[in-house]
Symmetry: C2
Subunit: 153 residues, 2 copies
């Protein structure tokens, strides 16, 4: 049932450190999250979780996601004009996102030179850099072919 991976251990260590309890519901939600495609919204995760936990509530999903984020298992992606999505973070490399403005497709991108330049730009202004958020918006190859106005996901 459970994926015997170390994500679960990360969560358990996090909980133990602050004297929190484990719970079947939360671990089930984590398992659903880990197995799912990336970049789920809270609602999508809720819908998936409900298949295994028919009586689970929205609040618990939100609470769980917050904990997963706090312990480094996931990360919120806040794109413009849409609900927050969450992606797997643990053992995933940093990347930015390329977003199709037609179909919503998300592509993960990374460019070390870009990263360095961002760092450098911040330092040039005397900032001690912590992180950045870069989203590139455009029309994906598929949507360019189809050409027409909006398609669906």
């Amino acid at each position: 049932m459970k994926t015997g991976n170390t994500e679960t251990e990360v969560l358990q260590k996090f909980l133990a450190d602050r004297r929190l309890n484990r719970s079947r519901v939360r671990e089930e939600i984590l398992d659903v999250f880990l197995r799912a495609e990336r970049h789920l919204t809270a609602d999508q995760l809720y819908q998936l979780a409900r298949r295994r936990l028919p009586s689970v509530g929205y609040a618990t999903v939100y609470r769980s996601l917050k904990i997963f984020c706090d312990c480094g298992l996931c990360r919120p992606i806040k794109l413009e004009n849409e609900p927050v999505r969450y992606e797997h973070l643990y053992r995933h490399d940093h990347h930015d996102h390329l977003v199709c403005t037609r179909c919503g497709r998300l592509v993960e991108v990374f460019d070390p030179t870009l990263e360095q330049l961002q760092e450098k730009l911040g330092r040039k202004h005397g900032f001690q850099m912590e992180r950045h958020r870069l989203e590139l918006y455009g029309i994906c190859p598929e949507c360019r072919k189809k050409g027409g106005p909006d398609d669906r996901n």
Copy 2:
């Protein structure tokens, strides 16, 4: 009273093109916006506007901001975990933002090399690039001096 600048002309042309009416209230709001420091929230603009238009409503401020954005006079800045801010856009060059995570200070930055790389990165993935959003988060020089809890020089 009014700043006889061309921003007002831009608005008027926009309105004329779609057979909309001019209105004293909206032009007053625009004037307040143009005179104000940049990066106002809708609420801040509302508070300022109320000094000249004591009975103005939130809805009108929001409606006006939307129109100002549509006609290229302003641009929404959506930072994380705070209400949208609006900055002057007309005759202002593109730039990204450096944000202090301690005091919230916003610094406008621009690096042509960075811009090019972003464009190139998108194209590399077959996207027809439209725009991007880059925010750099860190600790500003002032806040570094004051040295709060976690500052490592």
